[in-house]
């Protein structure tokens, strides 16, 4: 029973679907950040798997940079969320409608 690249890509797509469902379902902004982390991790799994099965290190490099982007995104996102919470006292996505979009 050999684990092939397809197994990993299927797993990655399942994780990505879970993250997307989370993004569309959540209204709490903190939970929305959790779902975006799941999305980024799903792509990381795919990158590492392709890197292993092709025998190339570039996939792992991209995974490193994705991790760096995720860390920056968390820092900036939480900072903005704290500012928004101080102004309004809410972290509900539906009440973030001051632009009447």
């Amino acid at each position: 029973m050999e684990i092939t690249l397809t197994h990993y890509l299927v797993l990655s797509s399942i994780l990505f679907a879970i993250g997307l469902i989370g993004v569309m379902r959540r209204k709490n902004l903190l939970m929305l950040f959790f779902a975006t982390e799941i999305l980024l991790n799903a792509t990381n799994v795919a990158f590492a798997a392709i890197s292993h099965y092709i025998g190339d290190l570039s996939g792992q490099m991209f995974a490193f940079f994705i991790i760096a982007v995720a860390a920056s995104e968390v820092a900036i996102g939480l900072g903005l969320l704290i500012v928004w919470y101080k102004r309004t006292g809410k972290i509900d996505l539906d009440q973030m409608n001051s632009m009447r979009g």
Partner: protein, 192 residues
């Protein structure tokens, strides 16, 4: 054989943990399930021979990112439930499946086309960390430095955004001073 067992075990565990993260209404369950899921993800990296990536995954995600989220959860009033209006679940499901298929197509397309060749082949005689270091500091040196600058910008941005009104220590003041400085620190009711 053992690789298959490990793959299926960790795949099931990861999917269950991330499903809990997405579906639960308790923020504490969500954050603990996501921390566990991140560690299980790192198991895939170890199976795939990307040892350094697995270690980085554990350190960054379950160390730094989870600590930041725990800080955020302490700051926000997570005991109060945010009402999650149900959008149409069928639309959500169909869109999620479509996007997942699209992602698989994106990743499979270069593999199927068969004209991909390894630019930085994995060498057998050196370890993963050494190989990663050699590629990272030669070919990917400029993106590496840019990522460092980006992390510095994110750090300063986070401090500037979250650090307002943090020059006063709430633990070293008495009650009247805390109550008198409440305006602006406490969330106002009903928008801004």
């Amino acid at each position: 054989m053992f690789e298959a067992i490990a793959f299926y075990l960790f795949a099931a565990l990861t999917i269950v943990m991330f499903t809990i993260t997405v579906m639960t209404s308790q923020a504490l369950y969500a954050i603990t399930a996501m921390a566990a899921g991140m560690i299980f993800i790192s198991a895939f990296f170890f199976i795939l021979g990307a040892d350094f990536l697995g270690a980085i995954q554990i350190i960054v995600y379950t160390g730094a990112v989870m600590a930041l989220y725990a800080f955020g959860m302490m700051f926000f009033d997570t005991t109060r439930d945010v009402v999650e209006k149900r959008t149409n679940p069928q639309i959500v499901f169909v869109l999620g499946v479509l996007a997942a298929i699209m992602v698989v197509a994106i990743f499979v397309a270069p593999v199927v086309s068969n004209n991909i060749q390894a630019l930085y082949p994995i060498q057998e005689n050196i370890g993963n960390s050494q190989a990663v270091g050699m590629v990272l500091f030669t070919k990917y040196l400029v993106p590496f430095e840019l990522a460092a600058v980006m992390l510095l910008v994110a750090m300063i941005g986070g401090i500037v955004l979250a650090g307002k009104k943090m020059d006063k220590s709430l633990t070293l003041m008495n009650e009247e001073d805390i109550l008198s400085m409440d305006d602006g620190f406490e969330p106002q009711e009903g928008g801004h």
